[in-house]
């Protein structure tokens, strides 16, 4: 038995505790354009995670020292609401939210055509309203949809998805128990149309074979989530067409 302690994460019938197969995603739903004040916005519900992203700009970058003469900067603020987990989270920035804001900003910079807006700033706010493992992935997916909704030019959208290892078995899309007691976690930001990887982090150990399988699951899931993203953007403008 792998993981920490004696927590059983796989049932005897090979399914996971919530009844999912090893390569099955939690339910994902996305809504675009939910915040009227923002230039673009989206809400992603991924399992029990709820992430809201708002995009403002492009606007003049302030303070001026952060301006880049040849491109825009993307300012991401990822934050978990104090009520998003069962233990209250102290409001404000912490080490984890800084790290996630940084990796999210860097991955978004790789897809947004930042050279179109020199000296500008694109502000992306990601608020996690409910958390159940995989919030950085839900956040980056929400940010991608919000950027597209805001009309920011991008060469592709990013889909955030994670695989991991529990009880020596590679599984897709870890839930809270699997994340806490599993052996590895591999969150990835995938560009679904080009198949490129915008960010990749790994917590724990995976053998090369396990890594390949985890990435295979991730790519398969990214295609599924991408369809939901596209449907959400289209639904905003096509549903009331007559």
């Amino acid at each position: 038995m792998g993981g920490y302690g004696d927590v059983q994460l796989l049932r005897e019938d090979g399914l996971r505790l919530d009844g999912r197969k090893v390569d099955e995603l939690r339910p994902v739903s996305i809504q675009a354009g939910i915040l009227p004040a923002a230039d673009g916005s989206a809400m992603v519900t991924h399992g029990l995670n709820v992430a809201v992203a708002a995009v403002y700009g492009p606007m003049e970058a302030h303070p001026r020292k952060i301006q880049r003469q040849d491109r825009a900067v993307i300012d991401v603020r990822y934050n978990m609401a104090p009520f998003s987990t069962s233990d209250r989270i102290r409001p404000g920035f912490n080490r984890r939210s800084r790290e996630i804001s940084k990796v999210t900003a860097e991955s978004l910079e790789s897809v947004v055509l930042v050279e179109r807006y020199p000296r500008a700033k694109i502000r992306v706010e990601i608020e996690i309203l409910a958390a159940e493992a995989g919030t950085r992935c839900a956040g980056i997916t929400a940010a991608s949809v919000a950027l597209a909704d805001a009309g920011i030019p991008m060469r592709d959208m990013i889909v955030g998805v994670a695989s991991g290892k529990i009880e020596d078995t590679v599984v897709l899309d870890l839930d809270k128990a699997e994340d806490n007691y599993g052996q590895a976690d591999l969150p990835v930001g995938i560009l679904p149309n080009t198949g490129e990887i915008a960010f990749l982090q790994m917590d724990g150990d995976l053998s090369p074979e396990e890594y390949d399988l985890a990435m295979e699951y991730n790519f398969k899931a990214a295609a599924e989530i991408h369809e939901v993203m596209v449907d959400a953007l289209k639904a905003r403008y096509e549903e009331s067409e007559n």
């Binding site: 230039d39 805001a150 592709d156 403008y237």
Partner: protein, 231 residues
């Protein structure tokens, strides 16, 4: 890979979708080339025109171009210049030498103060997106009456209509003066009923501007005003 459109019918595409092959096609706005394929960079409708494939975005920030007629709000006043919010990424700069008045150094605030609106033209945009405005020109002035209404920049063509047909109809129906700024701001001046009617018409443009139902919604709205007038 998800496919966009390469036909006569318009279809909605999202960033990253392949909308055509590079062979025999030119790349227009809202698209880039990647591995000999034309990729959409914005959420919008694919348009093919004379061998050029482009994406008409649904939502787009205002990008100032030299010569644009804009409606700006004064955001900041210095001794010899005004900074105007022109609904773009950057504020526009109106130096006192390009104002329609003879302004003494330090007296800029007496002519136009923070919060005032004015009709200006984009004089120059440099490669760093610095925008210089001018108010020297026919009709360029401080807007001291009427209402300024925000509309999406990408719906301006729809609001104006072919050869300004929609705009002229709106002016005739409401009996208002209407000036459409390229920066997504519309100035309306007339009687209260007229302004209210134009405001509602522009709301329809915001809601239906990207749909085929726009024209019918506008016609319905025109009848509504006529009825009000008859009553």
């Amino acid at each position: 890979m998800s496919q966009g459109l390469s036909g006569a019918e318009q279809r909605l595409v999202t960033p990253g979708m392949t909308i055509g092959s590079l062979t025999g096609m030119r790349v227009g706005s809202g698209a880039i080339v990647h591995n000999d394929e034309i990729i959409a960079t914005k959420l919008g409708w694919v348009r093919e025109n004379n061998g050029t494939i482009s994406v008409d975005p649904i939502n787009s920030p205002y990008i100032p171009r030299s010569g644009d007629l804009v409606i700006g709000n004064v955001a900041e006043v210095r001794n010899n210049l005004w900074f105007m919010d022109i609904n773009g990424s950057f504020q526009g700069l109106l130096p006192m030498s390009l104002a329609p008045w003879k302004v003494e150094y330090g007296q800029a605030r007496q002519h136009m103060d923070v919060g005032d609106s004015s009709l200006a033209r984009v004089q120059e945009v440099d490669e760093c997106h610095n925008v210089v405005l001018t108010m020297k020109g026919v009709g360029l002035r401080r807007l001291s009456q009427g209402a300024v209404i925000d509309v999406p920049v990408n719906h301006l063509d729809r609001i104006r209509g072919e050869a300004n047909a929609n705009l002229d109809r709106m002016k005739d129906t409401s009996d208002c003066r209407i000036i459409v700024g390229e920066n997504g701001r519309v100035w309306v001046d007339g009687n209260e009923n007229g302004i209210d009617w134009v405001r509602e018409a522009l709301d329809i443009a915001k809601q239906h501007g990207h749909k085929s139902s726009f024209d019918s919604a506008m016609k319905k709205h025109e009848k509504k005003f006529n009825k009000k007038g008859d009553a």
